[in-house]
Subunit: 249 residues, 2 copies
């Protein structure tokens, strides 16, 4: 992969060479990312670095065995973290009031911004990355494996490594689809047809539909990839986990 | 501001010159950012562009009158958005199942990653940015002003403009504070003292403490800036808003 700063050319990389990321390079990536903006400069996040093959093996089932967990050089679990900040408050005669929805959301935003800054800092160094969207599904298992204390919630996992391929250009909706001027202009049926036309016409979309025996691309999402039953079941898991990990109400 | 790609040198910019951001430049920033990674390439976000002074005036109270709302060239409200995707599904004989916690979180992550990529794309062009952390506090007012439909939740607001100053270097915790190796190593009292020492020793921290008549820097956060009562009140507002805007359970 070229070390490009052109964000419109970036691609997700799922396959990596054997070349390790040096400790200095990894530290520089984290250092860069730590300059990401955060709410009130509170830095309400942590990252757990996984390099040990045994730990990767332990985390793999929580990510449904996605090959890049064991196939990457470095796995990073980025967490929303009020634990450190609350400990600081308590040690400084300050009474923290962060066991509530807004604070959980604040830390989630801090952590996500930090994660994306890790992606950019890695890409600037020719290192490929991939988000594993499974982190919030199996948050309890990940928290157990990484020994996360209360007020620390895993939000995003990234695999990192030197690219073994160039990744796929999987296309995007035209910016007209995501950009509204002054007020949100809701989509007419004609808008939807026009905005999704290019995506639906792609070869890989047709292949997706055929492979899954579906009638439309949207059905691949609703019936196979992101189903109501899975979303609802994992919402329950997350809700129960949060009750333990970040109790509020 | 120099157009630097060094992420460790980036700073938040709150004051802007009169130079407008051209429509082409703004489109290029959004286009760049739209190549950010998203869950299953679903792009579960939207951005509402505010340039009209009347609209800025309308939004200002929701951001507690922070001066950059009216003082910026472009205000961007980034939203978690399942509305467009659900409309597409319904138009393609697919039954969406996204009225649940995991889906709301998924869209929140997509939107936040997109917002941060806007920041980087703007900074690459010498444009300064500032997050307004007030967006989720007054989400109902913002949703009303921007006419956001159901399943669209404002997550982050950014002010953009050409920098009128260089911004402040407000420092960061050492990376040791945010990075854990293989397992989360919880902080001892000595760790907390060491990791926060530099932050507490800063001139601006001392000034903060004195100005607010507090004994410690942590108390400025707990008693003035991010209080329990405000967090709890705005958590209730957000919870009620979500019940209308993204009903589930």
């Amino acid at each position: 992969m070229n070390q490009t700063n052109d964000l419109s050319k970036r691609r997700t990389i799922r396959r990596y060479t054997d070349q390790p990321i040096s400790a200095d390079t990894l530290n520089a990536i984290i250092e860069d990312a730590s300059h990401a903006p955060t709410t009130g400069n509170m830095q309400l996040y942590s990252v757990v670095v996984t390099r040990d093959p045994e730990m990767k093996k332990k985390l793999a089932p929580a990510h449904f065995g996605q090959p890049q967990v064991e196939g990457c050089d470095v796995l990073l679990t980025v967490c929303a973290d009020y634990n450190r900040f609350v400990k600081w408050c308590e040690q400084r005669q300050a009474k923290p009031g962060y066991d509530n929805l807004q604070s959980l959301l604040t830390a989630t935003l801090d952590a996500t911004i930090f994660a994306q800054q890790i992606v950019t800092a890695a890409e600037q160094r020719g290192i490929g990355t991939c988000y594993l969207g499974t982190t919030t599904y199996n948050a309890p298992d990940i928290a157990k494996a990484l020994e996360l204390p209360k007020r620390v919630v895993p939000i995003a996992t990234l695999s990192l490594g030197y690219p073994a391929d160039e990744g796929q250009d999987c296309g995007r909706l035209p910016i007209e689809a995501v950009m509204h001027v002054e007020k949100y202009k809701d989509y007419t049926p004609e808008d939807i047809d026009r905005l999704y036309a290019e995506k639906e016409a792609r070869d890989d979309s047709h292949q997706f539909v055929t492979e899954n025996g579906k009638a439309t691309l949207a059905q691949v999402f609703t019936d196979v990839r992101y189903t109501r039953s899975a979303n609802e079941a994992f919402s329950e898991v997350l809700r129960d986990f949060l009750k333990e990990q970040w109790p509020f109400e």
